[in-house]
C-alpha cells in the first residue's frame, strides 16, 4: 500500500429513487443529461479515483453543480456512495457500524462549513468545544482547550459572545477553531471561505496556511475559486459534471491544462498572484568566479551578455555590468563596481517582484535564503508567462 492517507476508488453517486437500477446505464458511459431524461435520476459523481497524502492540502475545485460538495460529504459519510470504496488509513469507511462511524467522525475528521454551521444557542466557547462535549470530555478541560484554540485563531476575548454577535469572518474563525479543537487529523473544508468578502477571505487563507505550517493536518478543501485553489493547494483536482477532469500541482494546472474546460478556467487567473519566481526563472546564464575585471569582461563577451553574476561557489556575491567593468580603473573587482540590483527569493510571488524587474535593466538574480544563486529572472520570461499562456503550454 502507498503512503496515501485517504484513497477513493471507483466512487459513483446517483441521486434518485432507485439508484442501483441506473448503475448499468452509468457504466455504459451515458451522459448525465441522458440519464436524467430517461430515468429521472441525477448522476452526482462518476468514477472518482483519488489519493490524498498525509499532511497535504488537497483542493477539490469545480463550479456549482460539479459535485464537489457531494464528494466531500462522502469522506465522513454524510452522504453514502452508490458504488465504490473510501479508505482512510486502510479502513473502509463503508464497512463501519453506526457506532464505529460516530467514533470515526469524532476522532478522525472534522469539518468547516460554507455558512459556518455554528450552534446559534451556544456561546462561542461552547461552539469551539462542541466536538469535545459530544465526546464526553469534562467541562473544565474542554473549556481550557477551546480557549487555547480560540486564541490560536485570534478571537480570545469573544468566548462569552453568541455567534450572531460576530461578523462573518469571525464566525468562520470560530468554525475553524471548532474543527481544530478535536485534534482530528483530517480537516474537511466545504467552501469554507466562499461566503466571506475578498479581503477577509485572503486574510483567512493566510491564517489557514500559517496554522498548517505548525499543525501539518491533512486538509481537503473545496472551492469554486481557482485563485483560492492555486493559493492553498499542494494538489488540485478539478471536477466537472461529477467527473475528475484534471489532477495536479497548481503549476501543472496553470501551465498545462488538460482540456478546454480547464483552459477556460485558467485563462482568467491572475498568474502573477498564483505563480512563484521558482516556476518561471531560468538557469543563471553568466556566472563569474574570481575578482579579475578582465576575466569577467571575457566571460561576458563569451556569453554575449551585458550583465553577469559574481559568485563564489554557489554563493551569490553581486551583479556586474559590462559598462562599469570597462570603465574600471584597475583589474580588481571591488564593492563599488557591483550594480545595485535587488535579489528575489525563489518562493516569492511573481506579483511582488514585478516592480524590481521593471526597474532593473538586466535579469534579476534569484537567491535562496541561504545565499545560493538559484537562477535568474528576466523580463522576457516574465512577459512570456504573464502574456498569452497558450503559447507556452503548446510549446
Amino acid at each position: 500500500m502507498s503512503d496515501a492517507l485517504i484513497r477513493v476508488e471507483g466512487l459513483y453517486k446517483v441521486f434518485g429513487k432507485d439508484p442501483a437500477s441506473v448503475m448499468p446505464l452509468v457504466h455504459e458511459g451515458r451522459s448525465k443529461d441522458d440519464i436524467l431524461a430517461e430515468t429521472g435520476h441525477t448522476l452526482g459523481l462518476k468514477s472518482i479515483d483519488l489519493e490524498i497524502a498525509k499532511g497535504e492540502i488537497y483542493v477539490i475545485m469545480g463550479l456549482s453543480g460539479s459535485g464537489k460538495s457531494t464528494l466531500i460529504r462522502h469522506f465522513n459519510r454524510l452522504i453514502d456512495p452508490t458504488e465504490g470504496r473510501i479508505l482512510v488509513e486502510g479502513t473502509d469507511v463503508m464497512q463501519l457500524s453506526p457506532r464505529q462511524l460516530i467514533d470515526f467522525r469524532r476522532h478522525k475528521m472534522s469539518m468547516v462549513f460554507q455558512r459556518f454551521g455554528l450552534l446559534p444557542h451556544r456561546s462561542v466557547l461552547d461552539n469551539v468545544a462542541y466536538g469535545l462535549a459530544i465526546q464526553g470530555v469534562d467541562r473544565s478541560s474542554r473549556a481550557q482547550q477551546a480557549q487555547q484554540w480560540l486564541e490560536a485563531v485570534g478571537l480570545s476575548g469573544y468566548g462569552e459572545q453568541y455567534p450572531a454577535q460576530l461578523s462573518g469572518g469571525q464566525q468562520q474563525r470560530v468554525g475553524l477553531a471548532r474543527a481544530l479543537c478535536t485534534n482530528a487529523e483530517i480537516l474537511l473544508m466545504d467552501e469554507a471561505f466562499s461566503a466571506l468578502d475578498p479581503l477577509i477571505r485572503s486574510e483567512m487563507q493566510d491564517q489557514l496556511l500559517a496554522l498548517q505550517q505548525k499543525l501539518h493536518k491533512t486538509i481537503i478543501f473545496i472551492t469554486h475559486d481557482l485563485d483560492e485553489a492555486l493559493r492553498l493547494g499542494d494538489r488540485i483536482a478539478i471536477l466537472k459534471d461529477g467527473a475528475l477532469v484534471q489532477e495536479g500541482t497548481p503549476v501543472d494546472i496553470l501551465l498545462h491544462p488538460a482540456d478546454d474546460y480547464v483552459a477556460a478556467f485558467v485563462k482568467d487567473v491572475n498568474r502573477a498572484r498564483a505563480l512563484t519566481v521558482e516556476t518561471v526563472m531560468t538557469p543563471a546564464q553568466c556566472c563569474i568566479e574570481g575578482d579579475s575585471v578582465q576575466a569577467a569582461l571575457k566571460a561576458l563577451e563569451q556569453a554575449g551578455r551585458e550583465y553577469g553574476f559574481q559568485v563564489a561557489g554557489r554563493q551569490y556575491r553581486g551583479t556586474l555590468s559590462r559598462r562599469s567593468l570597462e570603465q574600471a580603473p584597475g583589474d580588481h573587482i571591488d564593492a563599488s563596481l557591483l550594480e545595485t540590483v535587488a535579489t528575489v527569493a525563489p518562493n516569492a510571488l511573481i506579483e511582488s517582484v514585478i516592480p524590481d524587474t521593471l526597474e532593473t535593466p538586466g535579469p534579476l538574480p534569484v537567491v535562496s535564503e541561504d545565499g545560493n544563486l538559484c537562477g535568474e529572472l528576466s523580463r522576457a520570461s516574465l512577459v512570456e508567462v504573464l502574456g498569452d499562456g497558450s503559447r507556452r503550454s503548446a510549446a
Binding site: 467514533d103 467522525r105 469539518m111 455558512r115 450552534l119 450572531a164
Partner: protein
C-alpha cells in the same frame, strides 16, 4: 319507460339500511364501553387523583398565598415587574367579584391539560419530524381533531367514561393538543440543515442531535405551539363544563340557559384575564430564553 327519479333526487341509501348501520355501530361501541369502560377509567385514576389533589390545593390554600406563588412564578419566568403587577391586580379583581373558587378550578384543569398536551404532543411532534410516513398519517388525524365540532367527540368520551373531570380533561386535550404537535414538527423541520450536518459531522449521536441541537433550536416555534395550546384549552373550558367540569365555564353555561347577561360577562372576562396572563407569560418566557437570537443585547 325506465325509472328516472334518480336524476331528480339523490339516489339515497335505503332508510332501513342506514338505521341498521347506526344501530350496529352504536351497539358495538356501547358494548365496548360496557366491557372496557371500567378498566379504562381505572387507567386514568392516577391522573384523576392528581387533578383533584391539585384543584383542592389551589382552592384550600389561602388566597394571598396562591397570589404570592403565582406572582413569584410569573416573575421568575418573565423578569417583568409590569406583568407580575397586572397578575396581582387581575387576581384581586377576580376574587373581589366572587369568582375565586371557579377560577382556581379552571386554573387547575388548564394547567393539567397543558402539561398533558406537552407531555404527549412534543414526542408525537418529534416522531412526525423524523419520518414523512408518520407525518402523512398524523396530519389528517390532527385535521379531524381540529375541525370536528367539539360536541361530537364529547359523545363517545361521555359514553365511555361518564360525566366528570376525566372525560372533560380528555376532551380538552383532544381539542388543544394539535398546535403543539404541529409546531414541534415544524420547528424541528426548520432547523438549519447545515447546523444539523455540522452536529452529525462531529459525531453527535441521534440523541445528542435531538436534545443538543434540534429541540433547543426549535424551541421558539414549540413555545408558540404551547401558547396556542393554552389558548385553545381555555376556549374549550366552557364546552367541557357541559360534561361536568367545574370552573368558570359552568356559570357561563348557566347564564346562557337563564339569560344572565352580567354573570356571563363577568365569568367570560375572568377567562379572558387568565388567557391574557398565560399568553403574555409564556411569550415573555420564550423571548427571554431566546436571548442568543437577537445577539444577547436586550432581555
Amino acid at each position: 319507460m325506465a325509472d328516472t327519479s334518480w336524476l331528480r333526487e339523490f339516489p339515497q341509501m335505503d332508510r332501513m339500511d342506514l338505521l341498521e348501520i347506526r344501530k350496529t355501530l352504536d351497539s358495538a361501541y356501547r358494548e365496548f364501553s360496557r366491557s372496557y369502560g371500567d378498566s379504562i377509567e381505572s387507567f386514568f385514576d392516577p391522573l384523576l387523583h392528581f387533578l383533584v389533589w391539585f384543584e383542592q390545593l389551589l382552592i384550600n390554600s389561602p388566597w394571598w398565598a396562591v397570589i404570592l406563588v403565582v406572582t413569584a412564578l410569573v416573575y421568575a419566568a418573565t423578569r417583568s415587574w409590569k406583568l407580575s403587577l397586572s397578575v396581582v391586580v387581575s387576581f384581586l379583581l377576580i376574587g373581589y367579584f366572587g369568582m375565586w373558587e371557579d377560577t382556581m378550578s379552571t386554573l387547575s384543569i388548564i394547567t393539567v391539560c397543558t402539561l398533558m398536551s406537552i407531555v404527549l404532543g412534543i414526542p408525537i411532534g418529534i416522531l412526525m419530524a423524523r419520518s414523512d410516513r408518520i407525518r402523512s398519517f398524523v396530519t389528517p388525524v390532527l385535521d379531524i381533531m381540529q375541525t370536528m365540532p367539539a360536541f361530537v367527540y364529547l359523545i363517545p368520551v361521555v359514553m365511555l367514561l361518564g360525566i366528570g373531570k376525566i372525560p372533560g380533561l380528555i376532551a380538552v386535550v383532544i381539542y388543544a393538543i394539535p398546535p403543539v404537535i404541529r409546531l414541534t414538527n415544524l420547528g424541528i423541520r426548520l432547523v438549519d440543515p447545515e447546523v444539523m450536518e455540522a452536529a452529525t459531522a462531529y459525531g453527535a449521536s441521534p440523541m445528542q442531535r435531538l436534545f443538543g441541537v434540534q429541540l433547543p433550536l426549535a424551541m421558539p416555534t414549540i413555545m408558540a405551539g404551547i401558547n396556542q395550546t393554552i389558548m385553545m384549552a381555555l376556549a374549550m373550558v366552557v364546552i367541557a363544563s357541559m360534561i361536568g367540569v367545574k370552573g368558570l365555564g359552568q356559570p357561563v353555561l348557566k347564564s346562557i340557559t337563564n339569560q344572565y347577561f352580567t354573570l356571563g360577562l363577568f365569568n367570560g372576562l375572568a377567562i379572558v384575564a387568565l388567557a391574557i396572563i398565560f399568553d403574555r407569560v409564556s411569550q415573555a418566557y420564550a423571548r427571554r430564553t431566546q436571548r442568543h437570537s437577537n445577539g444577547g443585547r436586550n432581555v
